[in-house]
Amino acid sequence: MLRYTISRLLQAVLVILVMSLLLFMLIGLMPGDPVENMLEGNPALTPETMAQMRALYGVDQPLYTRYGHWLTSALHGDLGYSSVYFRPVLDVLGPAIVQTAKLLVLTELISIPLAMLLGALAARKPGGWTDSIISLLAFASISLPGFWTSLILIIVFSVKLGWLPASGTPLLSDASMSEQLVHMILPVTVLTFFHVGPLVRYVRASMIETLNSDFVRTARAKGLSEVTVVMRHALRNALIPMVTVLALGFGSLFSGALVVETIFGMLGMGKIIYDAISNIDFNLALVGLLLATIVTLLSSLLADLAYAWLDPRITLK
């Protein structure tokens, strides 16, 4: 197990390095020139100073040299500055990470029990009307464009009814807990609806499978109540592989968060990345994307490990 963990970790490190190079190259292909954007046509600058600045930022050097420099200083803990906000990128990203974490955790806290409940309900009588309705909902969930759902909810609940705030963040940093939660209602609703569909389909499928399995039949034969069978046996069995499903869903949940954060004006990781790319803030975009990638990678790694640990039937090669 330890050896497996270490080897998976080393692999992840390698993947992260490759990803950083890939992203570095991609971001280098975005329009504009970081030095030029910073100078913004300063008339006092002589061409010599321009050249000096270019040399300082290494813009005149080939891509791999620049990547080397970037990587070395990144490994020394210096992730550089945001060229738009003129602050260290981590200062900019810090609050955003917290914001996104809140959003995602809340979404998962609601999605998982909801998915289990709906999945279990649907699996009780496959093909029945409950199942049909839930399946239809699950289909709607994967077919609805999140940005549109957000817009419609804003039109209805904020503009027309005036019940809920149209923004995801309260005005002031000292806002009360309840105020913060109120602002989260619409974004979390959109994200939950986006996230829960695939989970429900998954829970339903694995519930149907376990409900048909021998040990559930035995349990039923023993005269255990249907609830006990569903709750104690079937659901628990469906839970284990759910870890993997959740981890794999993380990337898409993060993508969904980007859209939701942008529309509800929440300064999370997704919106920071979106803004950074719109503003051609090379370094901020790079570090933001890399962080998101690392989190996704780690979550799938953790899921694999948890899966291996939870399910003794999996033998580690």
Binding site: L39, E40, M53, V84, F86, S167, L171, G265, N279
Partner: protein, 563 residues
């Protein structure tokens, strides 16, 4: 089975209860708009907090709450002292024309700081701060933003703690307009340790600790912020002028103008600027149409003109009659009437007809499609088989129109222009490019092939040279500085501008402005479309709100109150 159902019921109850609580909580929080604070909705967070580096419209709208310029134009377009005692003029002797050692005429301007003026940390604002700011402005390694007022002065003498004399190397009509100054006691050491722009701007306290009260000298202090989300201003206890009525002004940032509008309607935001940094003009009109009384709409004429730059390197556009035909072909009045409720006045030139210097005696290009076609025909362009004009060489009259992607209004106008031009046999290919590319490649490097839509501000303190002077054509030698994107060069225009710049009495100024406008109307170095009015939307209980045409209204924010 029943138990699962039961659980579902419980769950539903809990969810409903939660929703109910949430709705209640939200309605209570929203039902109590605090009367001593104002929430201003904005888009585009500040790039950095330094008041003199990378200045743009949104920064001007924001920073002025807490850092005041020495002088500013009020709502009647009269220059006023903000931080100074008396506005220097030739009449009161605080400004005089002098002979410089090199034989040219120059000026000396005496500025005296207002009594009792102090930085937010209690340290008095002194001549040293002016000197420090001037020195930095003159440092090519730092490079404040374009057209910064301080680098015009070649010399500065400190007379006493509050008085300095600035020497201008030439006679300038804008001699008595002066910008913000920086605190020497805080920024001095940072500048000394970081003598170049790239490190200075990162280490400047404006960026490392913007809530440091010592950085600000206005009626308000920047007291709290979160990048991309909000900036909070609170009264400056050391402000010597009127004590602010509002206890808090909060800038709440939204991603786009429609979110802003929704927030305004939902009551989360009390005020929004229109156009730069806020909702679009047409959104304001929509809002006014639907909610005429819920908000107060402040609309004033503006000096910012939307125009289409015509690239003089393009042989087709070098022909004056083609340029004239293009302008005749655009029904600007219809655009203004239909899209902007007639409130964005058509621009006949670079000055609004509300401006005192407006010249009535010049060519006016009223929409006339027939005339446009005649002009094109006289220039050798005849309609081809597909309705698009061709010339003798078989070239099609097809022009690319570059504008900014994401600017809804501009995209709309571009599509209308395309449609209208088609009627007079001109094909317009719209190209919406991202803002960064627009500013860099298209504007500063002049890579646009034919037409480019952008706006330019001809305020009284700014010389028309920036867009019409032959020395303002952006090119590599001048680091792409200047707004003469058309590449227009006319000696007569250059001379008129030079004379305008040194004109000090209103009569000469008016004459010279008239000349500049006349040459403009004849040559059409750009196609003027309409003026952006200054507009602002706020809750009706906001009083003493001074909407100015030129300088940011924030300069008078201490007078604002909510009744």
């Amino acid at each position: 089975m029943t138990s699962v159902g039961l659980k579902f019921k419980t769950f539903a109850k809990v969810a409903l209860a939660g929703a109910a609580i949430a709705v209640l909580a939200s309605s209570t929080t929203m039902a109590q708009p605090s009367k001593d604070q104002l929430v201003v909705g904005q888009i585009q967070f500040l790039t950095n907090f330094h008041p003199l580096i990378q200045v743009n419209n949104t920064k001007r709208l924001t920073i002025n709450y807490s850092l005041r310029p020495i002088t500013a134009f009020d709502e009647n377009v009269v220059n006023q002292c903000i931080l100074c005692e008396t506005l220097p003029t030739i009449e009161n002797g605080l400004a005089k024309i002098v002979d410089l050692p090199d034989g040219k005429k120059g000026m000396q301007v005496t500025l005296t700081l207002r009594k009792g003026l102090a930085w937010g940390d209690g340290v008095p604002v002194t001549s040293k701060d002016i000197e420090f700011t001037w020195k930095m402005a003159r440092d090519p390694k730092i490079g404040f933003s374009n057209y910064n007022s301080w680098d015009r002065a070649t010399d500065l003498k400190i007379v006493d703690d509050r008085t300095v004399v600035l020497t201008l190397p030439q006679v300038l009509s804008s001699y008595n307009s002066w910008d913000q100054i920086l605190p020497e006691h805080l920024e001095g050491p940072v500048y000394a340790a970081n003598p170049t722009l790239d490190t200075y701007v990162k280490q400047s306290l404006y960026n490392t600790q913007p809530t440091n009260p010592g950085l600000w000298n206005g009626a308000f202090l920047l007291s709290d912020y979160q990048i991309g989300t909000r900036i909070v201003f609170q009264p400056n206890p050391h402000w010597p002028g009127t004590k602010p009525h509002l206890q808090r002004i909060i800038f709440s940032y939204r991603d786009n103008s429609s979110a802003l509008l929704q927030n305004l309607l939902a009551g989360a935001v009390d005020a929004v600027p229109v156009s730069p940094g806020g909702i679009s003009f047409s959104q304001m009109l929509d809002l006014r149409g639907q909610q005429p009384t819920k908000f107060k709409y402040y609309i004033d004429y503006g000096t910012n003109v939307e125009r289409i730059a015509v690239n003089f390197d393009n042989p087709i556009l070098q022909d004056k009659s083609v340029r004239q035909a293009l302008l005749y072909a655009i029904d600007r009045q219809a655009i203004s009437d239909e899209l902007f409720g007639g409130l964005q006045p058509v621009a006949n030139g670079i000055l609004s007809d509300e401006n005192a210097y407006y010249n009535k005696n010049m060519t006016i290009y009223k929409y006339d499609a027939e005339k446009a076609q005649e002009l094109l025909a006289s220039a050798g362009w005849k309609p081809g088989p597909d309705g698009i004009c061709v010339n003798d060489k078989g070239e099609r009259l097809s022009l690319e129109l570059v504008s900014t992607a994401g600017n809804q209004t501009r995209e709309q106008i571009a599509q209308v222009v395309q449609s209208q031009m088609k009627d007079v046999c001109v094909e317009i290919k719209n190209n919406f490019v991202p803002l960064q590319e627009f500013n860099g490649e298209m504007a500063r490097k002049r890579r646009f092939k034919a037409l480019m839509m952008s706006s330019i501000d001809f305020s009284p303190s700014v010389s028309p040279r920036i867009a019409l002077g032959s020395d303002s054509i952006p090119k590599a030698e001048n680091n792409g500085v200047g707004n003469n994107f058309s590449g227009y060069a006319n000696p007569a225009m250059d001379e008129a501008i030079s004379e305008l710049e040194v004109a000090l009495d209103p009569k000469t100024t008016k004459e010279k402005w008239a000349e500049v406008q006349k040459i403009f109307a004849d040559d059409l170095p750009m196609l003027p479309l309409y003026f952006y009015p200054r507009a602002y939307v706020a809750v009706p209980d906001l009083v003493n709100f001074r909407q100015g045409t030129l300088d940011p209204l924030a300069i008078w924010a201490e007078e604002w109150d909510r009744k």
